[in-house]
């Protein structure tokens, strides 16, 4: 296990590369999903008011 984590002496480089990739992809995915949900809620909040007014 330690040998695996050691990555033949390149641990810092290999794990930083994988870690940053995972972090960036997760942050982008979550912010996109949250953004889609939040904007949808805002659209739905506006709609009934408009219907009532009609």
């Amino acid at each position: 296990m330690t040998e695996f984590l050691h990555m033949g002496g390149y641990a810092t480089f290999v794990w930083t590369a994988y870690g940053l990739t995972a972090a960036a992809l997760i942050v982008l995915a979550l912010s996109s999903i949250r953004g889609a949900q939040k904007t949808r809620e805002r659209v739905e909040a506006l709609r009934p008011r408009r219907r009532k007014g009609e």
């Binding site: 695996f4 990555m7 033949g8 002496g9 390149y10 480089f13 290999v14 930083t16 590369a17 994988y18 940053l20 990739t21 960036a24 992809l25 982008l28 995915a29 996109s32 999903i33 953004g35 889609a36 904007t39 949808r40 805002r42 659209v43 506006l46 709609r47 008011r49 408009r50």
Partner: protein, 239 residues
Amino acid sequence: MHRFANPAEFNRLADAILPWAKIIMAAAFAYGLYLALFTSPPDYQQGESVRIMYVHVPAAWMSMFTYMVVAAASFTALVWRHPVALLAGKAAAPIGATFTALALITGMLWGKPMWGTYWVWDGRLTSVLVLFFLYLGYMALWRGLDEEDKAGRAASILALVGVVNIPIIKFSVDWWNTLHQPSSVMRMDGPTMPAEMLWPLLTVALAFKAYFIVVFLYRMKLEINLRKLTVLSSIEARG
């Protein structure tokens, strides 16, 4: 093409695709990472550091693929005044910028131990940095201009001008002397790596492609909702 023009139709299509894309993404990530980190051999020259390739190369492919998506969307938007196409470019750009940044950063982390430097201004590295700035410029134009139609048109024109950078990136390693090595996979005479290294690479590439589809569809929903909000609030304002 005109089926996607209707936002409601688009949302239905997106909801049909999303579960499948998510399953493929999860499976490809799990299997790809397993292959990349556990079963694939070290390289005869580069040792274990070659494992960076399995995220670096797919990220670099996606950076160019996504740019072509943005450019195709921009072209469609400019020629056919297609509102959904315009939003498709806007939705894809942040994904492309992220993949480009990741390609650059993982490349630096690979370059330091192997080449002996994080960065050189060779044809390949410089043209990929230009790609990153094209994404930033595209996104900045969308934000920078108040009138959304004008912003979208300016951004789309920039995206189309920037297309020339894609063949430059691809062939930079053949046209000029670079520190970066030539292509190992996308080449006329076939890949220059054995199957046990090619498979993890292609599996992670599939995972990235599925990831793109998932995030792109969510960002499309986001952009369509934003557009609806502008329309609804302008109706509201008019009473």
